[in-house]
């Protein structure tokens, strides 16, 4: 097997995650899908690291994890405060941006 297969897998997972973001209304699930996409990217990075034979890809994946952690913290905080004010975690309910 060629390690390229990992890349295919990453692409698949990323696409699934993206589709989830578009389909689901529950903000928490949407968020999980975002995490899934990030993880798919990480997998790709790790795989690239192996393909190229250096550790830069892993470093990037590491940073991605840190950023993802930060993002999760803020994002979940937003969801919680949103839920507090609207009693709903649906992203469709927060549609105040239209006129």
């Amino acid at each position: 097997m060629n390690p390229v297969n990992y890349l295919y897998l990453a692409a698949l997972l990323f696409t699934i995650g993206a589709a989830g973001v578009l389909i689901r209304r529950n903000a928490i699930v949407v968020f999980m899908c975002v995490e899934l996409m990030l993880n798919a990217c990480n997998l790709a990075f790790v795989c690239f690291s192996r393909l190229h034979g250096n550790l830069d890809g892993q470093v990037i994946a590491f940073f991605t994890m840190v950023v993802a952690a930060a993002e999760v913290v803020v994002g979940l905080a937003i969801i919680v405060s949103l839920f507090r004010s609207r009693h709903s975690a649906s992203v469709d309910d927060a549609s105040l941006m239209k006129l």
Partner: protein, 648 residues
């Protein structure tokens, strides 16, 4: 010596600048200053004249290049002057008559609070007119040409608070502008043809240019001349121009400015000589105007408008003469000069009459004034005799020559032209006699007319009212007014003789205009006799009609021709219907179109963009997931594009 030429123009220009910028503190001495500078200009002119006489006929032309005016690649316009016999004649006429009229105006405008401004304008006119005749190229001539137009505008509209005066001024300027358009097109054609528009280049090169181009130049110059000299079809402004103060009518609208067209054609003689067809057009214009002006002059009851008709007619004579070619130029100029004397005298006389009659201009309300205004009567009478061509007076010499030259044209044309000029002479005699009788003879009709007639709305300028309005007290004018009249009367009497006897004038001008003797089919004396007969017929008719019975104060209805002539042969009505009304409709519809169509198309585009964006707005439904889809879709498209670009 040639530096004096510039000084000649500078003197009145300085006067204009000082008087117009000086403000009220110059009110006390303004008129003296203006007159002084005009006089200075005349003295300079005289000095130059003497200087010129010292030289032989072939070396009399003096040129003076002052500075480069508009130097542009391939286009060289200079400020330079050319003083030759033709310009000299004009310089003396302009400054001479101009100075006299300045003096006259001191008295005439005495009570006008804006007298300083009036003198400023007069000086401005002198400067512009001198520039016109002294310029050594057409573009500079054009400056003078429009300059006199401006001065004329300012002076006709001098009593601006009278709406009629303001309208007349505007009309004069506009009609003149049509003529100016002709002049500027002529200059453009000259430039494209000769690469220059100086007199030597154009007049020297005219023979080498194609007849088409010469025709274009000639016709355009004729258009310009028509505008300035009030020839058909651009004559309509002159009658209205009589709204200006009478000295203005005398100086600008009789003696000098209106003759600029004659100057232009004479100056451009080489161009006209090259294309006989255009000369024919010139002759036709002159002939038509000659009769037109004369007929209008017969019907007018307003003394100044009658004289204006006469001016038009006399200039018609001159234009006709210029159209005859080398044979006529000298006579045209000679008639121009003599006409300058007697017509200015007549106008000043008319002004004097009005001065004494509470500014009444309707001749039907005059009558028997010879007893009250003897000096005016005598000078006016001499002018009258001169204009009708009474043998021995100046008009006789100049007009007679033109009639001769018309016959000398030869062939059928010659006969027609001769007949027209003779008929014109007869009509001239008729209407001038009519003016004379109505004004100075007969019963004193003004004693019954206590109020101004209804067709003359009483918006007389406050400054011109002399005493109460109810009953005029005719009186002789002050010395400052009568002296110029007397001087001009001398001119009217003797100028013709001085010029005409021994062909002095023709020889004087010959280096410039050249001269050819034509073969007249009728003898010189026959023509003279015919002229005198026509004259007597005209005078007799007038006396028969007006001299024998009382003249009605209110004009009778009159024949169809009379009524048409009173309305300037319906030319104004034609202008009104076609140009004014049509123009109004055109501009009004254009204003509407600009708003609805041109602006509308753009606004329509804006509206459709608005509609489109309204539809696009529906995409912005506020759902974050919809936006996510579009982002995602965008990403897909970008990736696809990138891959495609790679593949390609």
């Amino acid at each position: 010596m040639d530096n004096l030429i510039a000084l000649l123009i500078a003197a009145p220009l300085l006067g204009a600048a000082v008087l117009l910028c000086g403000g009220r503190r110059l009110d006390g001495i303004g008129h003296w200053l203006g007159t002084l500078l005009a006089g200075a200009s005349f003295v300079l002119g005289a000095v130059l004249f003497v200087d010129m006489l010292d030289r032989s006929a072939g070396h009399r032309t003096v040129t003076k290049h002052l500075f480069s005016w508009v130097p542009v690649e391939g286009f060289q316009a200079d400020v330079g002057f050319q003083l030759d016999q033709l310009s000299m004649t004009f310089v003396l006429l302009i400054t001479g008559v101009g100075t006299l009229i300045h003096i006259y105006s001191i008295g005439y405008m005495e009570h006008d609070e804006n007298r300083r401004r009036f003198f400023g304008y007069l000086n401005l006119f002198l400067a512009a007119m001198l520039l016109l005749v002294l310029a050594d190229n057409y573009l500079l001539l054009y400056v003078g040409w429009e300059g006199v137009g401006l001065a004329s505008y300012l002076l006709i509209g001098f009593w601006q608070h009278k709406p009629s005066a303001a309208t007349a001024a505007k009309k004069a300027f506009l009609v003149n502008r049509v003529g100016d358009m002709g002049l500027s097109i002529a200059i453009m054609v000259m430039f494209t043809t000769f690469g220059s528009f100086t007199f030597p280049a154009v007049l020297g090169g005219a023979d080498g240019a194609s007849s088409g181009r010469n025709t274009a130049i000639g016709l355009m110059l004729l258009l310009a001349a028509c505008g300035k000299s009030a020839q058909v079809p651009l004559q309509s402004w002159l009658g209205d121009a009589m709204e200006g103060p009478t000295p203005v009518s005398a100086l600008i609208h009789a003696a000098t400015m209106v003759t600029a067209g004659v100057y232009l054609i004479t100056r451009s003689g080489a161009v006209f000589n090259a294309v006989p067809d255009v000369q024919t057009v010139v002759v036709i214009v002159g002939g038509v105007t000659l009769l037109f002006g004369a007929i209008v002059g017969c019907a007018k009851d307003d003394i100044k408008k009658a004289l204006a008709g006469s001016t038009m007619s006399q200039i018609g004579y001159m234009i006709l003469a210029t159209g005859l070619g080398p044979i006529g130029y000298a006579f045209a100029i000679m008639h121009l000069v003599t006409h300058g004397f007697f017509k200015a005298g007549l106008f000043l006389g008319a002004g004097s009459v009005m001065h004494g009659m509470n500014d009444e201009v309707d001749m039907r309300k005059y009558g028997g004034l010879r007893k009250y205004m003897p000096v005016t009567f005598v000078t006016f009478g001499l002018g009258y005799l001169a204009i009708i061509g009474f043998p021995g007076l100046s008009g006789f010499f100049s007009k007679d020559k033109i009639i001769e030259a018309a016959f000398a044209k030869g062939g059928t044309e010659g006969w027609i032209l001769g007949a027209v000029t003779l008929l014109g002479a007869a009509i001239t005699a008729y209407y001038m006699t009519r003016v004379m009788i109505l004004t100075f003879f007969g019963e004193e009709r003004w004693k019954h007319a206590k109020t101004p007639s209804p067709d003359q709305p009483s918006v007389e300028p406050a400054a011109e009212t002399h005493g109460a309005h109810d009953e005029p007290h005719p009186h002789e004018s002050p010395k400052s007014m009568t002296i110029p009249m007397i001087v001009l009367a001398f001119g009217s009497v003797f100028a013709g003789g001085i010029f005409g006897i021994g062909d002095r004038f023709v020889k004087w001008l010959e280096p410039i205009t050249s001269f050819s003797h034509g073969d007249s089919p009728v003898g010189q004396w026959t023509v003279t006799a015919a002229t005198i007969v026509c004259l007597l017929v005209g005078v007799g008719l007038a006396i028969a009609q007006y001299g024998r019975g009382p003249v009605p104060v209110v004009a009778p209805r009159g024949s169809l021709l009379t009524r048409a002539a009173r309305r300037d042969l319906l030319q104004d009505d034609f202008n009104h219907v076609v140009l004014v009304r049509g123009g109004e409709h055109l501009t009004r519809s254009l204003v509407y179109l600009d708003h609805s169509l041109v602006d509308g198309v753009v606004n329509g585009t804006a509206a459709s963009v608005g509609g489109l964006s309204g539809r696009l707005r529906k995409l912005q439904n506020g759902f974050a997931r919809s936006y996510a889809v579009s982002m995602f879709g965008g990403a897909v498209v970008i990736i696809a594009a990138t891959l495609l670009m790679r593949a390609v």
